[in-house]
């Protein structure tokens, strides 16, 4: 449905950000992202647009749930 990949912000110029995934660099539009991202943030990119900032804390928390004895109660 909607292929989207995490990319790291390297620079921001108004509505356009330079992003990278590994050593591959590209540009994305920032017109529809809800939180203005900062350099160093990861965003999820779809069709050349940054869709959302990736929340590292939430991600780590999700992982922690597994690692702590696979307690899989969600939310």
């Amino acid at each position: 449905m909607c292929l989207a990949v995490p990319m790291e912000i390297e620079a921001i110029n108004e509505s356009v950000a330079d992003v990278r995934v590994g050593e591959v660099r590209h540009q994305v539009r920032l017109d529809i992202i809800d939180e203005q991202p900062q350099v160093g943030d990861f965003v999820i990119v779809h069709a050349g647009f940054a869709l959302r900032r990736i929340d590292r804390e939430e991600g780590l928390a999700t992982l922690k749930l597994f690692q702590e004895g696979l307690n899989l109660e969600l939310s």
Binding site: M1, C2, V21, E23, V24, H46, A47
Partner: protein
């Protein structure tokens, strides 16, 4: 050549054609047989011979890691080598678009000449046509390669046997991703270059030590997935590939990730698949890895009696899926 751009006259067969041959082609293809300017070249060949032909139409004509000239040598020389042959001779037929900058043509012809020298092949005969603007795209090159077969039973796509080990000589998808990264309207910046290279010396080294290699094939257009499917079909055997063992560069993975592409369907121009008896796999890997062109060589799977004609991939989770042949080329996608 006085003109800044290729003119239609260069393909006329008249004086302008002769100037192009004399002042440009003979200078870069230093071959006495070519210089005789006959209708055909006379070659001395003994015994079984391998012959392959390919037309090269790559766009852009210059790309990181190579150009259409060197590619036209590597592509054909490699195909000849895949039959266990030492490439010796090359024919070279150019189709030029009127208006091609002479500087580009010279650069390509020089690169082709150097690549031929490096590969140890002589350009022995050729042809040049010039098409009106808009009836060809810049330059197309056809090369036909001829080589002497060096082993009693040449490797062939139909000789994969259950139990054989499947190796690749290096990372997959470098050429394809490099070309994609240069496409107009798609251009992205990736630290990757075409792997375009002549593989014949490495092949010959391998065959000298291990003359019973069953299959050699370079996964060019269509990539590893397509080529393995071809082999599976020709040999009526299955291929079981271990996904986690596939060498793919980080940059290639990354470039593929956001375009929705699979590196296993991207072209390679300096890699080959080697299928041989299991017992010889380690020896082959050490020979490969000792060579700069084979330093990332890996064993990626096994030929199976099950699933004849199919290529099955074992995923890192231990699941299985088919690696099938695509209908056409991969396109960037959003879903």
């Amino acid at each position: 050549m006085n003109d800044a751009k290729v003119l239609l006259d260069y393909g006329s067969g008249g004086r302008a054609s002769h100037r192009l041959i004399g002042e440009l082609l003979l200078r870069h293809f230093r071959s006495p047989e070519l210089a005789r300017l006959n209708d055909a070249a006379v070659l001395d060949l003994r015994g079984p011979v391998a012959v392959s032909t390919d037309s090269f139409t790559v766009d852009p004509i210059f790309f990181p890691g190579g150009d259409i000239g060197s590619l036209a040598v590597h592509g054909t020389v490699n195909d000849v080598a895949m039959l266990g042959a030492r490439p010796l001779y090359l024919t070279c037929a150019l189709i030029l678009e009127e208006g091609l900058p002479m500087a580009d043509l010279e650069r390509i012809v020089a690169s082709l000449g150097q690549a031929a020298d490096a590969a140890g092949v002589a350009v022995v005969t050729g042809d040049t046509k010039v098409m009106p603007r808009g009836q060809a795209d810049k330059i197309f090159i056809n090369t036909t390669g001829i080589g002497q077969i060096m082993v009693a039973t040449p490797p062939s796509g139909d000789r994969a046997r259950p139990g054989d080990a499947i190796l690749v000589s290096g990372s997959m998808g470098d050429h394809g991703l490099t070309i994609l990264s240069q496409r107009e309207g798609l251009a992205f910046d990736a630290p990757v270059e075409s792997d375009s290279a002549c593989l014949s010396h490495l092949i010959l080294k391998l065959l000298e030590a291990l003359p019973d290699i069953h299959v050699l094939r370079d996964p060019t257009r269509g990539g590893l997935a397509t080529t393995l499917n071809e082999i599976a079909g020709q040999s009526r055997a299955g291929c079981l590939i271990e996904e986690s063992s596939l060498p793919v560069k980080q940059a290639v993975k990354a470039g593929c990730s956001f375009l929705g592409l699979d590196p296993l369907y991207l072209a390679n121009e300096g890699k080959f698949i080697c299928i041989l008896p299991e017992a010889q796999a380690d020896a082959a890997l050490s020979i490969l890895r000792a060579d700069p062109l084979g330093k990332d060589a890996a064993r990626i799977g096994t030929v199976t009696a099950e699933n004849p004609g199919k290529v099955v991939m074992r995923t890192p989770l231990g699941g299985h899926r088919m690696l099938s042949m695509l209908e056409g080329e991969q396109l960037p996608r959003i879903c």
